[in-house]
Symmetry: C2
Subunit: 304 residues, 2 copies
């Protein structure tokens, strides 16, 4: 089994109340693929420029992922700069420099096209569609989306949503998308409108809600005393969720619940450090230990 | 077994995005006692003026509670007015008219003094202390507090906290009290500083967190599509929690977890209607049915 993940690979300049990093490894596919690699064979589909540092490539390879569909093109790697503020889940984008992404058109190899699972991480929905269309017969297709594309490419977002099994959105996005304030009602509307298996609403430090046809699940986030860098939390959540599902023989409601909890646990490691440092030496057994801790905090007694 | 609950009995004028009610039955003890009465014998300690409507008294009696320590004094019943806004957990207090509360000094009868459980609902900490001091040997003492008293009577709040087993605070209060942003760290500080059995942090629509010496529990709120009137949610949460614990042979971590979930479930009925209307005809089996629904949404699979 393997999961194909398309998204950005970037050099991030990030400022948070905990400090500042320049040109650190980032991008939705980098976060998601590192997270998924904890559970299964992950295959990254993306592009970097000729300036992409060898140390970043070496790090990604060291995490066991397949980089054969990571294109290298003449020009600059995608760069993003952002600032986070205290007590504020919103971030300010300081700059976006598309670089080689401006002309990217993903081409998948045979091994990628045959993958069982696809995660369309955050990236322009046109690129998400190009990847979906190349897949032969995936068992499960998941897509992440965000405000930006709802504003600038709404029709393409709708087409992506019609093509996938599972959609991930954060709470403000799903409210805006659906026009209703209740997260559950909003998730239901999203699920029904696009015939999804599940809509997953990410609530940051408050966890996530899964709305499926036959299941409704509330997952808390793993609680942290402090957050160093929120970048990539949602990408890692989606990557871990996709990777864990890929590793399982079937996608049942129970499997999906555990996948979402794995997502929040891996995301909690990500935000404890800048860039991908929280995943640098992380092992599956570290993840399982924290998952056990989380399960102990939420397990409910038997009841009548 | 029975629970003594001291707090306010009020006539509330409330404006919410869903409408407006004038001189409706309210007050922390009214909400908490109605909630506790679903589980055990509740005994209300409070005061009203001679203008307190007979229909409100009849309603409280109809819910099975003991009103023999509800004093009636010459003068006006406590009145409170507040406005709630969309997408905002904070409320604006429009007016407070203490009335007979200005001179209240609670005196408990023999049956109240011998109760096994005491819940000090939100009211001036001096009154909370007067009640604690009259109790003979309660098995469990719980106290609710709020910002107002942390500002105006901090020393008395500290004394109350030193005297009780369980403290309830909302998230903004416990952060302010402790000076730390992490709810868990704040709850731990509160618990340790006052030698509490448990600190319960209420997070409104995001549920509650229990920090005990030997347990940490995350409870979600029962999800609602919309809220009609948030007044009394925290009071009902505390009343249901106290009432359920009173009804149990012992207070174990598992019992406490279930008590907190009962608290969120009863609070969810309260906020679906104005004033106490959500509890008017509510039965224990309605509550159990919703609890089962909530348990189904949060139950986690077995894991290695």
């Amino acid at each position: 089994m393997s999961v194909v993940i398309v998204g950005s690979v970037a050099l991030d300049t990030v400022v948070t109340p905990a400090g500042r990093r320049e040109e650190a490894l980032g991008g939705s596919a980098a976060y998601a693929c590192c997270a998924a690699s904890l559970f299964t064979q992950a295959r990254l589909v993306g592009i970097v420029g000729e300036d992409f540092p060898q140390e970043h490539r070496a790090f990604l390879e060291s995490r066991g992922m397949d980089l054969s569909s990571l294109a290298v093109a003449p020009g600059r790697t995608f760069r993003w700069g952002g600032t986070y503020f205290d007590d504020d889940r919103e971030r300010r984008t300081d700059f976006t420099d598309l670089g080689v992404f401006a002309e990217f058109s993903p081409v998948l190899g045979a091994v990628q096209r045959q993958a069982e699972t696809v995660f369309l991480a955050n990236i322009h929905p046109r690129l998400q569609l190009q990847v979906v269309e190349q897949m032969e017969s995936p068992r499960l297709t998941l897509a992440d989306t965000m405000n930006l594309w709802l504003d600038t490419a709404r029709e393409e977002v709708m087409t992506v949503l019609d093509r996938v099994d599972v959609a991930l959105m954060n709470d403000s996005e799903v409210r805006r998308y659906s026009g209703v304030r209740s997260i559950i009602a909003a998730g239901r509307r999203l699920r029904e409108r696009h015939g999804l298996l599940s809509a997953v609403v990410k609530k940051g430090e408050h966890g996530a809600v899964v709305v499926s046809a036959d299941d409704l699940f509330f997952a808390p986030a793993y609680p942290l005393d402090s957050v160093t860098d929120p970048t990539g939390a949602g990408d890692a959540f989606g990557g871990a969720l996709s990777g864990y599902l890929d590793s399982q023989p079937a996608v049942s409601p129970a499997t999906f619940r555990l996948a979402v909890l794995y997502g929040t646990v891996v995301a909690s490691f990500v935000v404890q450090a800048f860039s991908l440092d929280g995943l640098r030496t992380l092992t599956r057994s570290d993840v399982d230990a924290r998952l056990r801790e989380l399960l102990a905090m939420i397990r409910v007694p038997e009841f009548g």
